[in-house]
């Protein structure tokens, strides 16, 4: 459905994307991961037809993203990475403008989405909070019930509760057979919503992975605090990959399946157990550390 073929677009500062190739199948939710400045937004700008490729091409539903951008927009929903609306307008006025520009007759979906995301669109956009603006962006992108959606960091600025509602929304759209490409630098969000993820670094797609496979290979770090010296001694003998942070407090590194780790812990008294969050950078380091990638 979304096809990127040997796409190259370089900016004068050397940033951009180089010879990028990937496909997003119909009905698939594709996560697009990478640190800031890696080329996520450049790819998306090409998909929207804002940039003319230096080389290669991209297409959505067999329509060329540069030459046929306006036809693609009939069935495409887009959330920009940077939220900026027309100033001096109310949220409702803005949605009305987009609906008119799309020549939409039926406004019931706007109403439904507004309620779902608990958006108060009556006020002036300028006075809205960052979260409210982001919700407005979501409603604006989905009001015409598009079959294909391209979201650039869609949940930025949403509180955890809203983020949950958004993740549920994506899951529902996926069940309805929508094709979705969303970029993020939040691994969890991609994990919760996507089937596959592409990882981009310095303009080059370093890997495309099945989310389930990615999860299985994911390295987790637990911080375990045990009750006594005997427990500590026991833990050392289990053969877990451990690092002693301070007496009785260990950092355990677990690859993939946690079963062996949990069973090992059952043999001693555990006073505290924490899961340390892995940043995207650590997820990346894990990739590079495995020596699979350049």
């Amino acid at each position: 459905m979304i096809s990127v073929r040997h796409l190259t677009k370089l900016y004068r500062n050397g940033r951009g994307v180089k010879d990028l190739t990937f496909e997003v199948g119909e009905g698939e939710v594709f996560g697009y991961l990478g640190p800031n400045g890696a080329g996520k937004t450049t790819t998306i700008r090409n998909l929207l037809g804002f940039l003319r490729p230096d080389g290669g091409s991209c297409s959505i539903d067999a329509l060329d993203c540069w030459r046929e951008a306006d036809s693609i927009q009939r069935f495409l929903g887009y959330i920009p990475g940077e939220i900026a609306f027309i100033d001096g307008m109310t949220g409702a006025g803005f949605l009305e403008l987009l609906a008119d520009m799309r020549q939409m007759q039926d406004r019931t979906r706007i109403q439904g989405l507004t309620e779902r995301f608990q958006l108060d669109a009556s006020g002036r956009i300028r006075r809205m909070s960052k979260g409210a603006k982001q919700k407005l962006g979501i409603v604006a992108a989905c009001m015409h019930d598009p079959g294909v959606m391209v979201f650039d960091e869609p949940s930025a600025g949403l509180d955890p509760l809203m983020r949950r509602i958004f993740v549920d929304f994506i899951a529902e759209e996926r069940r309805r057979g929508k094709t979705i490409l969303m970029s993020s630098h939040d691994f969890d969000e991609i994990e919760d919503t996507c089937d596959r993820a592409g990882i981009i670094r310095e303009g080059v797609l370093v890997d495309v992975q099945d989310i389930r496979a990615l999860k299985e290979r994911q390295r987790r770090v637990f911080v375990v605090t045990v009750a006594s010296g005997e427990d500590a001694e026991y833990l050392r003998k289990t053969g877990l990959e451990l690092a002693e942070l301070e007496p009785l407090r260990f950092e355990a590194i677990v690859h993939g399946n946690v079963d062996r780790f949990v069973k090992a812990l059952a043999g001693c008294t555990v006073n505290n157990l924490e899961l340390r969050d892995m940043t995207l950078e650590e997820v990346f380091m894990q990739y590079y550390g495995e020596g699979r990638l350049p």
Partner: protein, 269 residues
């Protein structure tokens, strides 16, 4: 052309249109109200008794004695140019480059309208708003002059003068629109437009200073205001078909060029 966008542009820019229309119209009416034929004739008579070289040196050899010429001399030859320059520096920037600079253009382009349609709609709004301003100014001035000085105004000459003024305003707006289409930042677009349009104005002043001779004369001739010889239009000395034709060509070139450039360029959205 997208009607919904046109209406949105009107909603965001009607205040600008109102302010410039009111200021220009009020100024024009004020100048017309100062017309006093008897008084001007007396001055002219007095000047004619002085040596011609002296009156020319102080710029008094060209005292207008008809209402139409009076308006041409004191409003269309100078003041209106300033108002129009300021207006067309602001308007096209608000219509195009500001949306790119702020990022709201990405929403306009996320509707099934091509870039050509979006840019063209904005150009149409720009032309329409300048036309509204010209029509309000012209009709108000005519109504006022008919009520104060019935039958004095040379209506065909006055209409020709206003048509040329409108075309000059649109040509300047087209230049500003072109810069608005090729730049991504408002300050760059407005900077370029200011450089060009203010140069026209300064060149005209310089040209006038030298009484149309030598270097000064050449300076005055390269300005767009050369195509708006207000008093010559009133006296019927110029063939306005040619001038208006040149202006229309300029408008077409810059608007079409701007729309084309906008449809082909990279947008940082």
């Amino acid at each position: 052309m997208n009607l919904a966008l046109f209406r949105a542009s009107l909603r965001s820019n009607w205040v600008l249109l109102l302010v410039f229309t009111v200021i220009s119209t009020a100024y024009l009416v004020m100048i017309l109200s100062m017309f006093d034929e008897e008084h001007l004739k007396q001055i002219k008579g007095a000047i004619e008794m002085a040596p011609p070289a002296l009156s020319a040196a102080v710029g008094m050899d060209v005292i207008p004695t008809t209402l139409t010429d009076f308006a041409a001399n004191y409003f269309y030859g100078f003041l209106v140019q300033l108002f129009l320059i300021v207006h067309v520096l602001i308007l096209p920037a608000r219509l195009v480059v500001r949306h790119v600079d702020r990022g709201s253009m990405s929403y306009l382009l996320s509707t099934p309208n091509s870039r050509t349609t979006i840019a063209w709609t904005q150009a149409v709004y720009m032309a329409a708003s300048l036309a509204v301003m010209a029509v309000v100014m012209t009709t108000t001035a005519l109504a006022f002059s008919e009520s104060q000085f019935p039958g004095v105004m040379d209506v065909p000459a006055f209409l020709s003068l206003n048509l040329a003024t409108f075309l000059v305003s649109l040509a300047m707006a087209a230049v500003s629109f072109f810069f608005s289409c090729i730049w991504s930042e408002t300050k760059h677009a407005v900077g370029c437009s200011t450089a060009v349009l203010v140069s026209f104005f300064v060149l005209t002043l310089v040209g006038r200073y030298g009484h149309h001779e030598g270097f000064y004369g050449v300076a005055g001739k390269v300005s767009i205001f050369q195509l708006l010889p207000a008093r010559a239009i009133v006296s019927g000395e110029t063939n306005m078909l040619v001038n208006d034709g040149i202006l229309i060509v300029l408008i077409a070139v810059f608007v079409v060029g701007g729309v084309y450039a906008f449809s082909r360029r990279d947008l940082p959205l």
